[in-house]
Amino acid sequence: MRLKSYRVLLPVIMICAIVSAGRAQVAITFNAPVYGQSLEGLAFVQIFNSSAEDVKASVIIRVNENTAGNVLVATLSSVPLRRGNNMLDRATFSRGRFSFGNSYYGLTLSQTGRFPEGEYEYCFEIEITDSKSPWVSPFFENCFIQQLQPMTPLLLINPADGDESCNTRPVFLWQLPSPLPAEARCRLVLTELKDKQDIAEAVNYNIPVLNQGNIIGNQLMFPGSAPSLKEGKNYAWQVIVYTGKAILKRSEIWTYSVKCDEEIKPFSTDSYRELKEEDGNFYIASKFLRFSFHNPYNAGLLSYSIASLAGGGTPIKDLPELKILPGLNKFDVDLSENKSFKNGQEYMLEVRLANNRNLRLRFVYKNE
């Protein structure tokens, strides 16, 4: 607390002195709750050069922890300060000299670039080194105290990762990080996940279905203006929490699929069983019976029947009409539409071609 009162008073005295002199000054502001979390965040200190010229300065940043003392001393030379508002030039900052304290805090910061939880004092010392006009005092300093608690991750909750549902307008739910600046807002992005695409590519590259910013709180009802999600499509979604121009946290990326029917049409010819005149093998028809054969004859309606072997060869009624074409024919017959088919029972498909050629396929029907 001693440090705090001293550091608060110092800039006030300096401002008063400079204003009374009516000369150029440098004002330093730093958003410690946001930018005090990381080493590179120190580069986002705001330095206001109220003089009439661009100058150069050397900047020393000292970070002390209340119990451990020195954590970091960063020394930057030849920092350009243009007239008006400046942030530290990133290249200059990267070329700075960093000396880490001999403590747990210093070591952790040096290894991860992040400040561990603690009470910190961030002091920025600026000395004007290159100026055409004289300054009353070429030295400026400002310090900022922050009880730093690194933020917990942003955790997604609902829809759960990999969820499949009929819901085409789901509600999105997540847990906010703690602690969170009051001005923080969330942004949710949801994009279609294309075939073989990585989820990170999807949320970064694809045109979003949802790109909702300014969310206060931890949920998003599916926006009324957005198109409903499409059945059979996969989606990837992510939430970020931000304040101003800074992203504070990114959540993981989760996937969500709209899936009402489990029927999946086959993709390749491998899924079709070729019919033969005698079939000694076994085929399992999971809801769909997929078969193929070569028809050397003319087009027309396919003459076929399916008999239940368990029912003593009783033919199944109400089979769909199938059209046959010359050449290779492939058929998908949805057996689940017909209640006569019983799960686990054996059936015989018989296809009758012209010239009395009969093709057969014995199969077991599965509907699980």
Binding site: Y35, Q37, S38, E40, R90, T92, F93, F98, F100, N102, Y104, G106, T108, S110, Q111, T112, R114, P116, E117, Q149, P153, I157, A160, S165, C166, N167, R169, L173, Q175, A182, A200, E201, N204, P208, Q212, G213, N214, I215, I216, G217, N218, Q219, M221, F222, G224, S225, P227, S228, Y242, G244, A246, I247, L248, R250, C260, D261, D270, S336, R360, N367
Partner: protein
């Protein structure tokens, strides 16, 4: 009951010897029949003791049957390749035909432009975001390659388009081409010739027994059935062939009809003989023979049918069926195994040097690419550069060199001042061993040279620090589907102009010495353990995981890691009642302790319980309970920070009325939120949401009604936490041959903010073979605005895609 003879025992020992993979089954069977005696199936006694003993063994341990089969299959793999390798005569044709005539072949390309007009991002003003994509498939010297590019643009950042290129070796396509090339050069079923059917002996005996009886019948009919019996003996699938097809073969309806006619003729001739009339003896004898043969054939078929019934009853056919399915599944698996395909291709195809080289390339991405190799190495890692993986028989090498940037999406451009940056150059090498075996080990060393590039200085060369990450991982298959993975990773960071005060006396340590330092081992270490297993027969799967990331650990390869966290998670899923009832539980506890020197931590627990009852036609009813709680523990005190509970019931219903199909997805959920940013303030919000999405389908026409109502007890004017009502009704129809459209009306109300009504129109479809189009427009009018609205009620999406095919 006959005792086993020495000959029978010898045969059995021979079987055991030759089918070492099935030794378990046969040894068990042997010990069984040693106790109980053994007999071959005799006439009318196909359900023999031997069959009983073996089948009982198989029946009692279906899993072991599979295991025995699979282990045998695995053992035979090396023999298979040895056999294939023996064939030194290679095919001359290349996999892509005349390779050198067309070293560069264009296949397909697609150019698309996708656009979004919206207002719901930052600032609430209208913006337009587009992606211009070009994707194409090529073959370069027979190697399939995808070349893609993407240009992202955003009206808020005019002139700052983000352009990305990628070149990607399409290994899947390459393997597919190799498979096509191999078609006709190998017989897939021969791949498992080495695997002997464990039932073969029984099948042979059963068949022999039948044939013996059929020969006896043939003898009784004085050789009339000699040819037919011979044909039956030659039938490979006699035991499994359907009796109907056998009947059709030997008792063809036209043949039966003909014999019936001859029977009548024979009766008539006999009547003539009885009447003392003269008859043609030769004709009479011929007719007698034919009728007798018919009788003999009927007896033969009846005998086969009798045996088949017995085989069915004994369970033999069921086991043959099971073996057939297993064998078929294994052949499919084998033919889709990349290592098998590449090895066969090397043996059987005449490939160029480059094509042979690419057999060893598992991955080659140049330009913008994404990589996931493990949670402690790279996870959804986006970079621009080169990523490749080379394979040898049992080893793999992964090489990565590229640039990592914070701005992969143009929509991230407003966040140029983020305090956490991952910009930089990455170089990584990974070496794996045990490729394709049950245990694989990988070691990777990655170097990240990090800089602080912003939007305007994207090529900032000044390096801030260098992070070195070393990860060792092991994946071990346990049992049939169990998998354990362990990862251990350490990181070390060095600043280009940095020093630690602590190091000043001993000189600065470099990253490598920090990685191998044993002092404070866990200080810069991360550990990830996971075990997952699945028991398909029991419909059970589960996983357990443990992750710990030290405060001193950092890994730019996985930006989702949280330093200072410890996580314990578990999940279990059980399917009951013939795949109708699904129970699932997932839960985890995470502890975030961001200072090892202080007794302060965040503790988060989350659970997810799902119960789902599945019905036909995709119908289901599901219940979900999700509690989540976050506590802050400091020294001996603790306080709740946030809590959330959500309970939901979802139902999907489907009915068909003639040609009309009706579907309704209904959801009812309740949610209770509590958030305490500091001990003195607690914000609470609870809400109930009812949703119903109804569709009525008639052919390609559809009427839909979507409704969503949320009742929230929140009194604060917070747009996303208030009560709201959304209703939409519309009609989808065929506009042109390949173009569908839908038109809808919308009403939208957010309590305390706005009431809106509007229209929605979509058009999508194909214009000819090459052009596809999608347009979506949602326009609303504010009926009433309670607070100044940032949301301008207009949204539009459009995409246009043009496909170019190489018809050659």
């Amino acid at each position: 009951m006959a005792k086993p003879t020495a000959r029978n025992l010898n045969q059995l020992i021979k079987v055991i010897f030759f089918t070492s993979g099935f030794s378990f089954v046969f040894t068990a069977a042997f010990s069984q029949f040693k106790k109980t005696g053994y007999t071959y199936p005799g006439p009318g006694n196909t359900k023999s003791l031997f069959t009983d003993s073996l089948l009982a063994q198989l029946k009692n341990s279906a899993a072991s049957f599979k295991q025995v089969f699979l282990s045998s299959f695995k053992d035979s793999k090396s023999q298979l390749f040895a056999r294939l390798t023996g064939n030194s005569q290679k095919e001359l044709a290349g996999i892509t035909g005349n390779l050198f005539k067309n070293p560069l072949v264009f296949h397909t390309a697609a150019i698309s432009s996708e656009g979004l007009l919206d207002t719901s991002y930052l600032g609430g003003k209208q913006y337009y975001h587009t992606n211009f994509n070009f994707s194409s498939d090529w073959s370069v010297a027979g190697i399939p390659l995808d070349i893609d590019s993407r240009q992202q643009s955003w009206s808020d950042f005019k002139g700052n388009d983000l352009l990305q290129f990628s070149f990607h070796f399409d290994r899947e396509n390459y393997l597919s081409q190799l498979k096509k090339g191999l078609a006709g050069k190998i017989n897939p079923s021969s791949l498992l010739d080495q695997v002997k059917n464990p039932l073969e002996d029984i099948i042979t005996k059963a068949k022999q027994n039948l044939v013996t009886e059929l020969e006896a019948i043939s003898d009784r009919y004085k050789g009339l059935l000699k040819n037919e019996v011979q044909q039956i003996k030659m039938m490979q699938d006699l035991v499994t062939t359907d009796i109907k097809s056998i009947k059709a073969k030997f008792l063809d309806p036209s043949f039966v009809k003909d014999i019936s006619r001859k029977q009548e003729l024979l009766t008539a001739l006999q009547q003539q003989i009885n009447n003392g009339e003269r008859t043609d003896n030769a004709e009479l004898n011929s007719l007698r023979d034919e009728v007798l043969k018919m009788k003999a054939l009927q007896e033969l078929v009846n005998r086969i049918e009798h045996h088949k019934t017995k085989w069915e009853q004994s369970g033999l056919l069921a086991k043959i069926k099971e073996f057939g399915l297993l064998k078929q599944a294994s052949i499919t698996k084998l033919l889709n195994d990349p290592s098998v395909i590449t090895r066969l291709a090397r043996q059987k195809l005449s490939l160029s040097g480059l094509q042979r080289f690419f057999l060893n390339i598992n991955r080659l991405d140049i330009g913008q690419n994404a990589l996931s190799s493990g949670p402690l190495s790279f996870q959804h890692f986006l970079s621009k550069g080169i990523t490749t993986e080379l394979l040898t028989n049992t080893r793999s090498v992964v090489l990565i060199a590229g640039k990592q940037t914070d701005f992969n999406s143009i929509l991230d451009f407003p966040f140029s001042n983020s305090p956490f940056s991952n910009n930089g150059i990455v170089k990584s090498i990974g070496i794996g061993s045990g490729n394709g075996s049950r245990s694989t080990t990988n070691l990777s060393v990655s170097s990240f040279s990090q800089s602080m590039a912003g939007l305007t200085d994207a090529f900032n060369p000044a390096m801030l620090r260098q992070v070195l990450v070393t990860t060792i991982s092991n994946r071990l298959s346990i049992g049939e589907k169990g998998m354990m993975s362990v990862e251990l990773s350490r990181s070390a960071t060095q600043y280009s102009q940095g020093r630690n005060s602590s190091d000043s006396s001993t000189g600065e340590k470099n990253n490598l010495s920090r990685i191998f330092s044993t002092g404070n081992f866990m200080g810069n270490t991360a550990v990830s353990l996971k075990y997952a297993d699945e028991f398909t027969d029991q419909g059970l799967s589960y996983h357990i995981s443990f992750n710990k990331t030290a405060n001193g650990y950092t890994n730019p390869g996985n930006s989702y890691l949280s330093a200072g966290s410890t996580e314990l998670g578990t999940g279990i899923r059980k399917v009951l009642l013939k795949n109708k009832l699904f129970l699932s539980f997932r839960g985890n506890t995470r502890v975030y302790r961001y200072n090892d020197k202080e007794d302060a931590r965040w503790v988060n627990t989350h659970m997810l319980l799902d119960v789902k009852w599945k019905m036909k036609k995709g119908q289901y009813i599901a219940f979900r309970y999700q509690p989540m709680k976050m506590l802050r523990k400091e020294n001996s005190s603790k306080r709740p920070v946030s809590s959330l509970e959500r309970i939901a019931v979802d139902a999907s219903l489907y009915r068909k009325f003639g040609r009309l199909a009706y579907r309704n997805f209904f959801s009812l959920s309740g949610q209770w939120n509590s958030y305490s940013p500091d001990p003195a303030a607690t914000m609470k919000n609870s809400s109930v949401t009812i949703s119903s999405f109804q569709h009525l389908l008639l052919g390609k026409k559809m009427v839909y009604i979507n409704m969503n109502y949320t009742h929230a007890d929140n009194s604060a004017p917070q747009l996303f936490l208030n009560s709201s009502f959304y209703a939409e009704t519309g009609y989808s129809y065929q506009l042109l041959k390949n173009i569908t459209a839908s038109s809808g009306l919308i009403y939208n109300n957010s309590a305390g903010w706005y009431r809106q009504a509007g229209i929605r129109q979509t058009i999508s479809g194909q214009l000819g073979e090459k052009v596809s189009i999608n347009i979506y427009v949602d326009m609303k009018k504010n009926l009433r605005v309670f607070h100044p609205l940032w949301d301008d009620p207009v949204r539009a999406d459009m995409s246009l895609r043009y496909i170019i095919n190489n018809k050659n």
